[in-house]
């Protein structure tokens, strides 16, 4: 029976809650909460992607596009139209859901490589729009002056405040997703992954479930994009290009896509690698990613989240 134990989740989020306090007392990691904001933003996307890829078995190369749609919806609607940021966030999620429905309905009928190509093409189109619609998006120069977030007069104006906001969203998304996985929906997704033939013989409407999960992933990515925009107060297209979509895939491949924890581990690791530990590789960063991905897929097909299982296996023998 698939059961995701509660204890590690409790411990993990307890650490998340205490972390800013710890970081304050250790100068070497004093700036980590800032990185963790980005890690949390990525976590939102990878959680959705993990459900789509790891559980439903569908590949997507366009998560960065939904990430961008969220960010630009927030940016454009607040800066150009002066709307309430929270409302913009919701509108962005609504637009992403609608776009995911329109793109997903035909694409998810495709299999394997074709689905990858279709989502890839869609991602590139969205990226081009961000670049070309200069009047709305500011084009390649990006968009400045996106306001910060506040709630009932409380301003999320420091790193730590924003940190807690982002991680509250991650916590909610994580719990929501776990509830899905351990339910009728989750079973249907795993059934689809295992045998589409048998799943449909059990009455599972395959395309419907694929689309629902695709939309869910898009909505989470969009939320992540809005949070990103309001944190940095600046966005430009390169944050949402194809490489980011690939990086997101690397995250869940590295963390392990068949377990929801893999999404968290991967998002953390790649964030810290790219912003902190691999900084000095500069242009060669991508080669290092390639190397890491190669090693993981060869030696840890279930990703880093699969390690406890391997160790358990050793003890059993």
């Amino acid at each position: 029976m698939l059961r995701i134990s509660k204890l590690p989740i409790a411990i993990f989020f307890a650490i998340i809650i205490c972390f800013p306090w710890i970081a304050k007392h250790i100068p070497a990691i004093g700036h980590y909460p800032d990185l963790m904001v980005f890690a949390g933003i990525y976590c939102l996307i990878t959680i959705g992607l993990s459900l789509l890829m790891g559980y439903a078995g569908q590949i997507s190369l366009c998560q960065a596009a939904f990430y961008g749609i969220g960010a630009y919806a927030s940016g454009i609607l607040t800066v150009r139209y002066g709307m309430n940021p929270w409302l913009c966030m919701l509108i962005g999620m609504g637009i992403s859901a609608l776009v995911a429905l329109l793109v997903g309905a035909p694409s998810l009928k495709l299999k394997g490589h074709y689905l990858a190509m279709a989502t890839l093409a869609f991602g590139i189109i969205v990226f081009i729009i961000f670049n070309e619609e200069v009047e709305l998006t500011g084009g390649p120069d990006g968009m400045r002056g996106i306001p910060g977030l506040s709630l009932f007069g409380f301003q999320f104006d420091s790193v730590n405040k924003y940190y807690y906001l982002v991680w509250a969203f991650v916590f909610a998304a994580f719990i929501f997703t776990i509830n899905i996985i351990q339910s009728r929906t989750g079973r249907a997704l795993r059934a689809i992954h295992s045998s589409e033939t048998a799943a449909s013989a059990m009455g599972v409407n395959i395309s419907r479930f694929k689309i629902i999960v695709f939309i869910y992933g898009a909505v989470l990515a969009s939320l992540a994009g809005s949070l990103y925009a309001h944190y940095l107060n600046f966005i430009n297209p390169s944050t949402f290009d194809l490489f980011v979509s690939i990086k997101l895939l690397i995250m869940i491949a590295l963390g392990g896509m068949h377990q929801i924890w893999g999404a968290i581990i991967g998002a953390f690791l790649i964030t810290f690698l790219s912003y902190e530990w691999l900084h000095f590789f500069g242009e060669f960063e991508i080669i290092v990613y390639g190397g890491i991905l190669l090693l993981v897929t060869i030696f840890l097909p279930d990703g880093l989240a699969g390690i406890p299982g391997i160790i358990k296996g050793w003890f059993r023998n």
Partner: protein, 267 residues
Amino acid sequence: MVQELKFQVRESLEKNILEVEQVAMAFGGLMALINQNFRVKKGIIKAIIGPNGAGKTTLFNVITGFFPPTEGTIRFKGQAIEHLKAHDIASRGLSRTFQTVELFDNMTVLENVMVGCHTRIRSSFLATGFKLPQVKRKENKIKEKAMDILEFINLKDKFNEPADSLPLGEQKLLEIGRGLATQPDLLCLDEPVAGLNETETQVASSLIRLIREKGITVLLVEHDMKVVMDLSDEIMVLNYGEKIAEGPPEQVQNDPKVIEAYLGGED
């Protein structure tokens, strides 16, 4: 006249759970099914036999919505279903098993049966994500129901084992159990005892009989003639996609065309 016709329609509805009319299935140039016409009476076990490649599995695939037929009508419980998708047909109460076992290998025995309950107990994506109280209640109900089925097919002890760890005989039973979980009115079994030993075959046979006793109609494709003769109320014989005989077992057994088809198929 009209009254008479109405009466006939109603009577056939009450008597026949499945009506197949002029169904044909072509794969490119190959006619896998030719002008199929037959009915399945409610509550019986009807066997479909025939040499390898006769079109038995194709017939199941057409009935259960995996291949839309090239021609013809299929009525299940009086309603045309030939244009429906497999999942739709399943949710209307027509379930099946597969010739080569198609269990969900990534799940436990219990979970496999729980997937079978998919269309009977539903909750929405949002309700599930927010874990509303009724979702938990429904989930428990699904588990209970699945456990009852495992008890029925005698696999209760193994509920928590991975489905692919079971021996073939039990995997076949589990597939039947998973089909039963969809609460079918008609269950199509594609070679349920193929590859099983003597004891396993007996277990499966008596299970199929029990299923009929529950009021579920069974369509049975099987090569094991002893099982077929033992279980079926009616037999239909296919050869090269055509029906060559249909009737009670004794009659079909002695039909020269049937004997010819089977002997002819061997050289």
